[in-house]
Subunit: 373 residues, 2 copies
């Protein structure tokens, strides 16, 4: 595909539904929902946004081709992406590994993991390709009178690396230890100050759902909730139940209410919104639901959104706001690549398909969409 | 290929540029550079060296065929090379593993790693093929009043093995802990006294750049800087910026100014100089820049330079000085083998190519150039 094709050309097959259909759905929502959430809908229903509520199937493969950088021998180490995963504790080691190794398999140059000491030995042993920092601490290892100083040390040990990263993934295998999550809050605040994009998944979503200020108004944040994490977010932010009938509208509202973030709602079909429009990715994946696929996704979003930022900063092509949001583009690309890789792995391994098998298919799937040369 | 072919025959296609072209470049350098660095050039410009400033494409495959030992069933364990990597700390375990396993995959008989206790368990778990010594210590594990005795123990624990090694690789995954680097300085001094070749990479270059006396005047030292490490070396030693227009001349000057060492400047094309002449290796590699390829290189230089020393000591063929420098020959061979292996891995894995994939191609690449029988 010629690199001179306009980025906006990827979006030709975004389909706008008619505003009348949207209006009918809004009426349905009014009838079936109550409370604050509904009032917000009432406020918006006659606004300009009404015409943009359709769920749009993204041209995900076109986006992948557009944002994936050309392989250029003149580039040096790091220029294709440097990603860090904050996660891994006494209980969980697989999740941060899956996220970090997926980033490398897609094409990032360097992938770091910041985890507890217990987790570090194990994560290192999974792969020599990762750089694993044993810096996080859980409550059981820290006396109360030490907490302030250990907090400072932990946050400092991570933030001294911060400027080197194109994106953080916060959450895979993080656990729910209170002290550890306090430290991670500190890390997120530093990342925001440094303008580093953040993908939040797993236990990171638990943290953020209870501390929305951590991401409120930060346009470089992506939340990637699964069905239960999404339910908790909707209940907390919109104070109502998940509404499948009006899934897109509710997602868009949620993103706006949290403020400027991008939300990737995982499901049978993936819905992605930054509050401006809702994008859908529904290409075939795998019926296998083995644990760990969400971690592949979070690592993939980190790489693709970094590439999208790089691409958008180097182009002057006019795109509308939502389609020029690198976090949205990264989500769409990651959704499609994971689905294709899972389908490929399932075709070969069937019921025995594991997350590792899907990771092994990331390279071939990307090559099928966007050949390296 | 017959082993009776003269070693100098490998260098038939070394091309000498005309001295007038060199003179023009020297003039350009005088115009564009300032300070002490330029004065050195001025001193040298009318000297005999002027005629030898051309960058020469090395016959790397010919060199590999010449220095790689014949597989002889009469040889016993160790005669094909014994290499040790000094590196591996709490944060880094992949790098020393990559360097040490690459040495074995090329054909060394034994590969040791000297690292911290934290790193040792992990590096051992990567491969049962390596001999891993948990002897290095970082500051956090040593009280101030213990430092003198621990220093002695650490240096002693490494140096008692020293005479067994054909080459040390100092730096992969070493980290920057002050106490650990002090111990490594002690190890380097002992290696020099024992006349053991040393390849210095990664954090070893950080150490040496700030302590140039460690390698000054040691002709069995090789420095393998990447773009950033090279920049720091040039700034420190030549007190000026990297000059891409006069890259070869500057590299040669740098090697001379440090004193007798060989420098392998990694980049889109590799430049290698011991201060006598500059050799270039530019055969196709891979556009992938995943972290760890520098570690493969350092392990490879260790093996090939050991083989080159062995070969040169057993032949009485007349060769000019630079072409009889085993460290230069080792660098040229390592550059070519890494490039071929990376190209082979990339042809199969594309964007998903990782350092482990390249290591898996070392054997086949060497076999393509120089069949074992």
């Amino acid at each position: 595909m010629s690199s001179t094709v306009a980025l906006s050309g990827c979006f030709e097959n975004w389909m706008l539904a008619s505003s009348s259909a949207i209006f009918r759905r809004q009426l349905f929502l009014l009838k079936t929902l109550g409370g604050h959430c509904c009032r917000v809908h009432m406020e918006r229903i006659h606004g300009a946004e009404g015409a943009r509520a359709a769920t749009l199937e993204a041209d995900a493969e076109g986006i992948i081709r557009k944002i994936t950088p050309v392989m250029d021998p003149r580039l040096y180490k790091g220029q294709a992406g440097k990603v860090a995963v904050i996660g891994g504790c006494r209980e969980y080691t697989g999740a941060p590994y899956f996220a970090a190794i997926s980033a490398l398999k897609i094409g990032a140059d360097l992938s770091h993991v910041f985890c507890t000491k217990d987790a570090a030995t194990v994560i290192k042993s999974y792969s020599p390709e990762l750089i694993v920092h044993p810096v996080l601490e859980e409550s059981y290892g820290v006396r109360d009178d030490e907490k302030a100083s250990v907090f400072g040390k932990v946050v400092g040990d991570v933030t001294k690396w911060m400027q080197r990263f194109d994106c953080l993934v916060v959450g895979p295998g993080l656990g729910r230890d209170t002290f550890l999550l306090d430290c991670v809050s500190g890390i997120i605040r530093h990342a925001r100050e440094a303008n580093i994009p953040i993908v939040i998944d797993g236990d990171g979503l638990f943290l953020v759902t209870n501390n929305l200020d951590l991401v409120k108004g930060y346009s470089l944040a992506v939340l990637t909730p699964n069905i239960n994490e999404y339910k908790r977010l909707v209940e907390k932010v919109l104070d109502c139940e998940v509404n499948e009938e009006e899934a897109s509208e509710q997602l868009k509202l949620l993103a706006r209410r949290i403020g400027d973030v991008t939300i990737f709602r995982k499901g049978k079909l993936d819905l992605i919104s930054d509050g401006e429009r809702v994008n859908k990715v529904s290409i075939s994946g795998s019926p296998r639901r083995c644990g760990g696929q969400g971690d592949i996704l979070s690592g993939s979003v980190a790489v693709f959104s970094s590439w999208a930022r790089q691409r958008l900063s180097s182009t002057k092509e006019a795109t509308e706001r939502s389609l020029s949001n690198p976090m949205v583009l990264g989500c769409i690309a990651a959704s499609a690549l994971l689905r294709k890789s899972a389908a490929l792995a399932f075709a070969s391994k069937k019921r025995a398909t594991l997350t590792t098998d899907i990771i092994e298919c990331l390279g071939r799937s990307l090559e099928d969409i966007c050949p390296a040369e």
